[in-house]
């Protein structure tokens, strides 16, 4: 690394690692709640990438996009958790291997 300041490549690296950890979590766990949390992790990796591009190119619009992604994430979590409570009430588990009625 030439310049002493943090270059943007480090932010690209960090976002990639966080996104991959999120994907790995979705494949790794069977608890539907933790899968939802890993999706949040992936959304946050993308948010970090957008903010870093916004900051390094001096453009505000990336931050507005991040704002809208947060809005959608909040709505998604509210609906997802309501679904999970409803599933737990009917089936008694949120193990995704139990929810195989739609599997071919």
């Amino acid at each position: 690394m030439e310049s002493p300041e943090t270059t943007q490549n480090w932010y690209l690296l960090l976002s990639t690692v966080l996104f991959s950890i999120g994907v790995m979590g979705v494949l790794f766990r069977r608890n539907a709640l933790i899968i939802l949390m890993c999706i949040e992790l992936m959304l946050n990796a993308v948010n970090l990438l957008l903010v870093s591009f916004s900051a390094y190119s001096g453009n505000t619009e990336g931050q507005v996009f991040v704002f809208f992604i947060m809005v959608v994430a909040a709505a998604e979590v509210a609906v997802g958790l309501a679904l999970m409570v409803s599933i737990y009430r009917n089936i008694g588990s949120i193990d995704i291997n139990v929810l195989n009625k739609l599997k071919w």
């Binding site: 310049s3 002493p4 300041e5 943090t6 943007q8 490549n9 480090w10 932010y11 690209l12 690296l13 960090l14 690692v17 966080l18 991959s20 950890i21 994907v23 790995m24 979590g25 494949l27 790794f28 766990r29 069977r30 608890n31 709640l33 939802l36 949390m37 890993c38 949040e40 992790l41 946050n44 970090l48 903010v51 870093s52 916004s54 900051a55 390094y56 001096g58 619009e61 931050q63 507005v64 991040v66 809208f68 947060m70 959608v72 994430a73 909040a74 709505a75 998604e76 979590v77 509210a78 609906v79 958790l81 309501a82 409570v85 409803s86 737990y88 009430r89 588990s93 949120i94 193990d95």
Partner: protein, 166 residues
């Protein structure tokens, strides 16, 4: 130089806590380490001169979403004994495929000649007035539509979580 040190510390914190989210046995520890991860990402936002987004991130994620998650974990009575586990083969496959995805993305970053941006010395693009100006002029229609989205999400959550009467 010190900003770089802060960057390394925050990055290590966020990656380690993200790994704890995936690998911890009990769901409650996953939620708590996800909160740590969100706080470190908020620290990154402050480092990137996005103060408004950092505050919104803490309020929305740590304040609202994670409290909701924590309540759901306690409501559903999830703990270590009820935690389902995949077979070892599936776990290894998950780790390998996640690692392969990371390798592919890193290789594509390395192959792409990105323009090297220098961060501006003094930047005010993350201030509330600039973000708000952009939000209420160029992005006014999406802003209003997102309120409709919130109303529909609220109604959907109430309808879905309501107990059926039969």
């Amino acid at each position: 130089m010190s900003s770089q040190l802060i960057f390394y510390i925050l990055s290590a914190l966020s990656i380690v806590s993200a790994l704890f989210v995936v690998f911890s046995r009990s769901p409650i520890y996953s939620v708590l380490s996800l909160i740590v991860c969100f706080f470190s990402i908020a620290g990154h936002y402050v480092m990137l001169n996005a103060q408004f987004l950092a505050i919104v991130h803490i309020i929305v994620y740590a304040g609202a979403i994670m409290v909701l998650m924590l309540f759901t974990v306690m409501l559903l009575n999830l703990n270590k004994s009820t935690e389902p586990h995949k077979t070892n083969l599936t776990k290894i496959m998950a780790i390998v495929s996640g690692g392969l995805l990371m390798l592919t993305l890193l290789a594509s970053i390395k192959a792409e000649k990105l323009g090297v941006y220098k961060a501006p010395e003094v930047s005010d693009i993350g201030y509330v007035q600039n973000v708000g100006m952009k939000l209420f002029t160029d992005f006014l229609l999406p802003f209003e539509i997102s309120s409709v989205l919130f109303v529909s999400a609220m109604i959907a959550a109430v309808v879905l979580a309501k107990k059926e009467r039969n």
